[in-house]
């Protein structure tokens, strides 16, 4: 193509030159000038063409660093679905499921790439733009990656410039991927962009990760691909001595239609027949060539989400590496990706290999404590085990706002009241809080925010009732009551639970009898407890219940927490109002013993 253009151009220049020379015999002065102009024009054209060629080559190189989008295994991609389902495509397109992986362009990236340097642990990182291309200047990611595996920092890694290939993110932050080796192997850029704060932050610091640990560069091709793309196929290449040469391909970047509906090839082929389509339209018969999660029973429907929103084992790893995950919507998840769940041999085996496995994922009582794994919580809930609660009971992909994806008519208490309708008649009698109080909202007591992720506390999908016995274990899951009434003791909470709900009282230690739960969690708790406490200290209903001035001094202590994520949450919880209200400094006699008793277990929560 390029060679053809150059030859054509050269021929044109030659013809023009010959014409001018011929004319030049007659008028030598004018012709010399024209020849000079012709030669200059030819030079400029060749230069321009060469530049275009270089740009095209750069584009090709950039395109090669992004996993290829191919139709395999019966998958056809969301663009194919769009043609017939424009509304569903548009509603999905609004969601953050789509943005879980995108090609990095000025349209998809919100981060500031205007030539900035960041420093972290003795290394410098630069972000910059070349036209519409987003670039980073970093210590060689491959050397860093290898050195980290070996357990030491990549101080001596040579510097390289890499064009950012992909971006992962939603409304909280954006994570960036840079090509690291041959093929399309991609590693994380060690800084993320915090969208609300409009600033860069070390990626390690946004995870609840113990301070001494190294960066933890992550590779996209073997990990993220399975849940941040549709039918991700890592495809390591033969002769791959470094383990870093991949020809990775996907059906779609991001979590697209076929992640939930299954491969669409048969559906597309069957519905090229208009008679079939009109028969379906007019009779409203269920379509048999594609899965609609809304028509599945509650377990199968939930497992569609659980393929990613659960901690599962990959029994299909050998095939998964080359042809993608074997699970298909509508099938039994346990056949290929069994849930790793409290009390199972699988979990015991994981813990035997890695003693931190359990604590980095679960509370001591077995409830999940990391974000994005809602199925582990739901699976333990009576509403799921004995009832018919599914993800779709409350959430919707196509009829919801993108942030929480709560179905339009399932906001507030409505999601719970669809089964527990009798509560509607006299909610105060059940909650012992005012009808409009936050203490009367179902989720605040039965789904408190005891999950950590993305620099905040999130709702646990392990649906249960407040229980002080959970807190009494070392590093135990905070009970719902004291996440609002942070300034009250466990004894106070127990007294109310016994009186209101007939709970059997348990024996409490003297500290549990006398110390406010919020204070104990924030100062003496382990890292997940401190993060959860820090978030709730800034939660408006909690501040209303405790009085705003109570939270300030506790948050001030958390601002010096060893974990960057806890410090970040504390800073945000403190906010300008609390800074102004200040409050009494903490009593040294109370504070010091608590800080000395702080649980220093090293956490690296597996978000």
């Amino acid at each position: 193509m390029l060679a053809g253009s150059l030859i054509a151009f050269a021929v044109l220049i030659a013809i023009a030159g010959a014409f001018l020379l011929e004319k030049g015999r007659r008028r030598s002065g004018t012709s010399a000038l024209l020849v000079a102009i012709g030669v200059l024009a030819a030079g400029a054209a060749v230069g321009l063409t060469a530049r275009m060629h270089a740009a095209a080559q750069a584009e090709q190189t950039a395109a090669r660093s992004v996993p290829a989008t191919r139709s395999t295994e019966g998958y056809v991609s969301s663009e194919e679905c769009r043609a017939c389902h424009p509304e569903e495509y548009a509603s999905w397109h609004r969601t953050y499921h789509r943005t879980m992986t995108q090609v990095a362009t000025p349209d998809t990236v919100v981060a500031d790439f205007s030539d900035r340097w960041q420093s972290y642990r003795g290394q410098r990182y630069r972000v910059f733009r070349r036209g519409d291309e987003l670039w980073v200047d970093v210590p060689d990611p491959v050397a860093t990656f290898v050195n980290e595996w070996k357990g030491f920092a990549a101080i001596s890694a040579p510097r390289v410039e890499r064009r950012v290939s992909m971006v992962t993110g939603s409304h909280h932050m954006q994570v960036f991927w840079v090509p690291a080796a041959e093929g399309n192997f991609n590693l994380t850029f060690p800084f993320v962009w915090l969208i609300a704060d409009h600033r860069w932050a070390p990626r390690k610091d946004v995870f609840l990760d113990y301070p001494e640990r190294l960066h933890g560069l992550q590779d996209w091709n073997r990990n993220c691909i399975f849940c941040h793309a549709t039918l991700g196929q890592p495809r390591p290449q033969p002769g791959n001595a470094t383990g870093m040469i991949f020809d990775t391909q996907v059906a779609d970047l991001g979590i697209a239609c076929e992640a939930c509906h299954g491969p669409g090839g048969d559906h597309v082929a069957a519905n090229t027949n208009p008679l079939r389509r009109y028969l379906l339209h007019l009779t409203e018969r269920p379509e048999t060539t594609i899965v609609n999660p809304a028509r599945l029973d509650h377990r199968a429907a939930t497992e569609v989400c659980a393929q990613c929103h659960g901690i599962t084992d990959w029994d299909d790893l050998p095939q998964r590496t080359y042809t993608g995950a074997r699970y298909r919507p509508g099938a039994r998840l346990s056949d290929t990706q069994p849930l790793i769940h409290n009390g199972t041999d699988r979990l015991r085996s994981k813990v035997a290999q890695d003693p931190s496995y359990y604590r980095d994922r679960f509370w001591p009582d077995g409830a999940i404590r990391v974000s994005g794994r809602e199925f582990n919580g739901l699976f333990d809930s009576r509403c799921y085990q004995r009832g018919e609660l599914s993800c779709l009971s409350c959430h919707s992909m196509h009829d919801s706002e993108p942030t929480y994806q709560l179905a339009r008519d399932k906001h507030g208490d409505e999601a719970c009241l669809q089964c527990h309708g009798s509560m509607r008649r006299d909610v105060v009698a059940h909650t012992h809080h005012g009808a409009d109080s936050k203490g009367s909202r179902c989720v605040n007591c039965h789904m408190p925010r005891t999950v950590y992720g993305l620099l905040r506390a999130m709702r646990n999908h392990h649906i249960d009732s407040p229980d002080v016995s959970l807190d009494t274990a070392r590093g135990g899951r905070p009970n719902a009551c004291n996440l609002c009434h942070l300034d009250r003791t466990l004894a106070w909470t127990q007294e109310h639970l016994v009186e209101w709900y007939g709970r059997r009282p348990i024996e409490l230690t003297p500290d549990q009898e006398r110390l406010p739960v919020g204070l104990a969690l924030a100062l003496a708790g382990d890292a997940p407890q401190r993060a959860i406490a820090a978030w709730h200290l800034g939660w408006l209903p909690a501040q209303k219940a405790t009085g705003a001035s109570w939270a300030g001094p506790v948050l001030a202590e958390l601002m010096a927490d060893p974990y960057a994520a806890v410090r970040y949450i504390a800073e945000h919880s403190l906010g300008p109002e609390l800074r102004r209200s200040q409050g009494q400094p903490l009593d040294e006699g109370v504070k010091r013993p608590l800080l000395q008793a702080r649980d220093t277990t090293r956490f690296n929560l597996a978000e």
Partner: protein
Amino acid sequence: MPSEGDPTDPRGRLVTRHLRFGWWTLLAFTVLGLGLESAHGLKLGWYLRPASEARRLMLTLAHAHGTILALVNISFAQYLRAHDSIELRFVPTASWTLLAATVLLPLGFFVGGFVVHGSDPSIGAWLIPPGAILLILALYFIARSVGPSSR
């Protein structure tokens, strides 16, 4: 020249029929065009949201086909009136097939677009293929009706 006012003159009756039908149809589909422009102007979700892509296409096609076929009817009347050497045996068939096509084609697009199933128009769109066949027949018979030049 046919006498348009003479009810016993079949050619004159056809001229009147196609002129009247053509102008009224043109009026109707121009009004539809104004409606579609208004839907854009007023940003009606029913018409503009992504799910209405099929509706927009079908209603636009109804407007385009209705308007053009109205003009074809007027042209046909003009042709009957102005041309001397017409093979009259083809004219009645050409006339009714043209009228039927002018009804079925835009109506099919219009009804098909009013209710849509995703990217599929409603069953009203099934009027379109017979309408298209009738239009082709009408054009065939009109072409056949053109006789030798009167000069």
